[in-house]
Structures are given as C-alpha cells and as structure tokens.
Amino acid sequence: MSTKSYQNKIANSRAIAEPVWIRWLLIGGALAYLGLFLFVPLAAVFTEALRKGFETYLSAFSEPDALSAIQLTFIAALVSVPLNLVFGVSAAWAIAKFNFRGKSILITLIDLPFAVSPVIAGLIYVLIFGLQGWFGHWLSDHDIKIIFALPGIVLATIFVTFPFVARELIPLMQAQGKDEEEAAIVLGASAWQMFYRVTLPNIKWGLLYGVILSNARAMGEFGAVSVVSGHVRGLTNTLPLHVEILYNEYNYVAAFACASLLAFLALVTLALKTLVEWKTAQAQQPELSQEST
C-alpha cells in the first residue's frame, strides 16, 4: 500500500524523479547484476538437466540411490520442521506477550544458528556424539549410531533451521499486541481455546511462511549435513549430498536433474512466500477491501 501511494507521488512529482534515460540506465544495471548472479545460474540448472533429453532426465530419479536420498531428505524435514514449529510458537509467545529480564539476550541467542557456519553446526554434533566425542564410547557400547546416521542428519537440520519460525512470529506477535488474547481470557476462554480461536488465526500466515522457509532450508541443507552424514550411498545421503556425489563422478546430467528438483522446490517456496505476503497485506487492510466491495 505504502509503495503504491509513494510511487504515485513520485510519478506526479517531476521535481524528485530522474530523467527517463537515467531510470532505464539504473533498471538496466540492476537487471544485469541480477542476471549475472541469479537468472543465468537458475536457467543453467534446468538447461543442464535437460541437455540429453527428457528421458535421460527422468531416468535420474528412478535410480534407487536417488530415491532413497529423496526419502531421507523428506524424513529429515518431516522431523525437524514440526519440532522447530513448536519451539518457534512457544518462544514467540513468551517473548512477544510477556516482559521479562534477559529478553533481548534470549532473542540474540535464538539468532545464533544464523551466525554459525553450517560446517561448524555439523562439527559440534560430531564433538558430542562422534566416536571421540563426549558420549561416543557410551553410544558405541550400546550400539546406538547418531553420527553418520539419521539422528545426526536430523540434529544438524534442526540446528540450521532453528530460528526461522521464531524469527517470523516474534515481530508479528509483538505488533499484534495482547489485547485480543486478554479479552478472550477475561471472557472465560481456556488457554487452548484462546490459542486456537484468537492467536492461531492471527498468526497463521506468518506461521505458514516460517514453516515454508524452514522446510526449504531443511531439504536443501548441505554443509552441516555433509559433516554428520558419512556419505553412505543409498543410506545416509540426502538429496543435496547425492547431487554432490553425482557431480564429482562427472555424471552432470543426473546431478543437475536432482538439482533441478531442489531448484523447483526453491521456486515453489518463493511463490508461496509471495502469496503469503499478499495475504498478510490483505489481512492488514480489511476495512479497505470491505469498502471497495
């Protein structure tokens, strides 16, 4: 909304607008930069994948190793995203609706995984659960495998997607204040009733966006998972790791075919994000849309 009115203002005011040729020069510069770093690489993924025709492209997915990699990727996302969702909602509830000391420290600590290199995210779990790690002996005595197995992959995925839902919800719930929830409680709603009838409808779009983003990162994580996976084909390879192996074996068509699947997921994520932003903007302007109908 603000963008639109602003643009109209700029358009109506010749005094603070650039000459047409400068506008197009700037637009050209911006597009050239985005082209070099975004559009051309994105197009390359699909072109390289289809280089030897559609048949070869599809055959990359019927390989058992590829199928088990896709399966493992889904499992890792299916476990880590719901856990981070529960965490995100409870962290946002405590931070946005209550005042307590140490709140800004807590917010900074929640952001920590963004600042940590994915390689280090993998390393710290190796230090704890690896053979030389804190619990290494105990785990190997009890025949429990965490590192170079599914639990390690899930842990690393949880770490790298840790802040996403909380990051989306905290500013949203802070902006919404707590009047509506307080009204619900005062009128006799139970805690769960308040949550399902008041809080959840208010935050659903932000929540959805947080989940979409964590899911994209969970399915695409490479560095952290690479450290803890052990790269056993057909067993502990996620789809991004499978891409790496195929690429290093000079099997470019299959590598880019699997990569195109992940790129498609990224594009769907961006499309959903745009939809969610549009819905949120709509939800914030209910009076306006009612007037116009």
């Binding site: 409870s90 931070i95 991004p240």
Partner: protein, 280 residues
C-alpha cells in the same frame, strides 16, 4: 543468565511453560553443542592452539574467506542498493517476479547454487566462455569464490534497504529540491543518510553469511591449498583426517568472529530502528 521469571501483571496463560520449553530447547540444540566446541578447544594448550590457528595454510584460508566475503558484500552493497532503488521507485515489466526472485539465494540449496555457478562460469560455460578469451578465469580461482559469495549475500542488502526506501517521505526530497538542490545533492544529502544504517546492516549480514558459507563455494573454488581453499573447507579437511582438535580450534576462531559480527549487527539494527523513529 539471570532471568526474572515473574512477568508483570497479566491474565495471559502459558508464560512459564513457553519460556521453559524455549530455554530447554535452545540449550539442548544450540547452547550445549556450541559450548562443546569451546570445551574441546580448552583441552589444547595455548601454544598448540595458537600454532594451529596461525599455520600458513590456515592464514591463507582466512585471507581468502574474509577477503572474498568482504568483496562480495561490497558488490552487494552497491548493486543491492541499486536493485532496491529500482524496485521501489520505478515501474518496469516483470517487476513483481523479479522482486520475488531476489530471495532465491535464501531458498535455493547451496549445493545447487554451487554447481549452477560452476557450470555458468567454467571455461566452457555460458559466461565463462565469454570471459576466458579476455584472460578472466572465474571458476576454480579465488574470483570464483567471490562470485559464489556474492550470490549467497545478494538478498540481504536489497531486503534491508527496500523497506526504508519505501518509507522515505517524498516531502523531504521536495523540500531539498525547492531549496535549490539538484538530484545528486538530494541523493547524497537527504536519501543516502536515511538509508545508510540499513545499507550497513545489509552489508554486515551478507558478510557474516559469506564467511561461513561452504556448499556454494567448494564446487567453484577449485580448493587449492594456499590459493582457493576457504576456512570452512579446511575444517572439513581436518575432520576427515581425524584431527578433531585442529578442526575445533579453527571453528572456535570462526565462532568468536561470528559472535562479534552478530553483536555489531544487533547494534546496527537498533541504530537503524532509531534512525527511522521506531524501536521495534
């Protein structure tokens, strides 16, 4: 940490379980594992630690990781500002799709970005074959690292500057013009100071993201020790040689630098919010 668990008067339920679970989960997933890195390093003597983290090959990797991350973030500061400007102020076909695609580096798995950039910038790739005759080699050189880190940091500056540009009051610019400023003076004296904190925040975020980046870099870098080997790769190399202490020592150096950057970024965001008259 001294947390006061008594919220001020409120009828809202669930504070203690929500905060309790938050702190429990945060400790379990993030704080305890991270402290493992510091504890592991504290087992080393200071001399051994120092020798590990200042070995010539490690120093070369810092120079590459930090240098390339800095150049990438600088490129993104200039062109990210340009993209934000164009998206906020001008109308052109395909604008909405381009706006949505700016976030692609957030959503695209880094390994996919890595092999795509390599395919494009390799000597026989679409852009590499154009640059090669001019003596510019991108893939498998430090320049390739810069390209990958520029890709990774691309959305940060755009997304921090864009909202500030949208909220700028046209009146301030009109006042500058009516007082006799030309367009360039209006930009440098009125617009730029208003967006400077956001620009610096975006730059720092891109820089912080780039120094730890692994997936998109290793395919395009060539990974030659002393020349095109980034620090995160060195950590992996040491792990593969079962040199856990060495890997952890380097990781601790990177962690400390990342934490300092995180604090700087928090300060910048606070400054940004203050400059724009709203503390979140």
């Amino acid at each position: 940490m001294n947390l006061n668990l008594q919220p001020k008067h409120t009828v809202l339920p669930g504070f203690t379980p929500a905060l309790g679970f938050t702190i429990f989960y945060l400790s379990l997933i993030v704080l305890i594992p991270l402290s493992a890195a510091f504890l592991k390093t504290s087992l080393l003597t200071w001399d051994a630690f120092w020798a590990t983290v200042t070995a010539p090959r490690v120093m070369a990797s810092y120079r590459l990781s930090f240098g390339a991350a800095f150049i990438g973030a600088a490129i993104n500061a200039v062109f990210g500002l340009l993209v934000a400007w164009v998206l906020v102020r001008y109308k052109f076909p395909g604008k909405r799709i381009i706006d949505a695609l700016v976030d692609l580096p957030f959503a695209l798995p880094t390994a996919v970005a890595g092999i795509a950039l390599t395919a494009v910038y390799a000597p026989n790739g679409w852009l590499g074959s154009i640059l090669e005759p001019h003596g510019i080699k991108v893939a498998f050189t430090p320049l390739g690292v810069v390209v990958a880190l520029t890709f990774i940091g691309l959305p940060f500056v755009v997304r921090t500057v864009q909202p500030v540009l949208e909220d700028l009051e046209a009146e301030a610019e009109e006042a500058a013009v009516s007082l006799g400023a030309n367009r360039w003076q209006t930009f440098t004296k009125i617009i730029f100071p208003a967006i400077a904190p956001a620009l610096l925040t975006g730059f720092s975020l891109a820089f912080a993201r780039a120094i730890g980046e692994y997936g998109s870099v290793i395919f395009i870098a060539g990974n030659m020790p002393m020349i095109s080997e980034i620090t995160p790769l060195l950590i992996i190399t040491k792990l593969e040689q079962y040199d856990y202490a060495g890997a952890t020592a380097i990781a601790v150096v990177m962690l400390v630098i990342s934490f300092v950057l995180l604090l700087i970024i928090n300060g910048l965001q606070w400054w940004n919010a203050k400059r724009n008259g709203s503390i979140k």
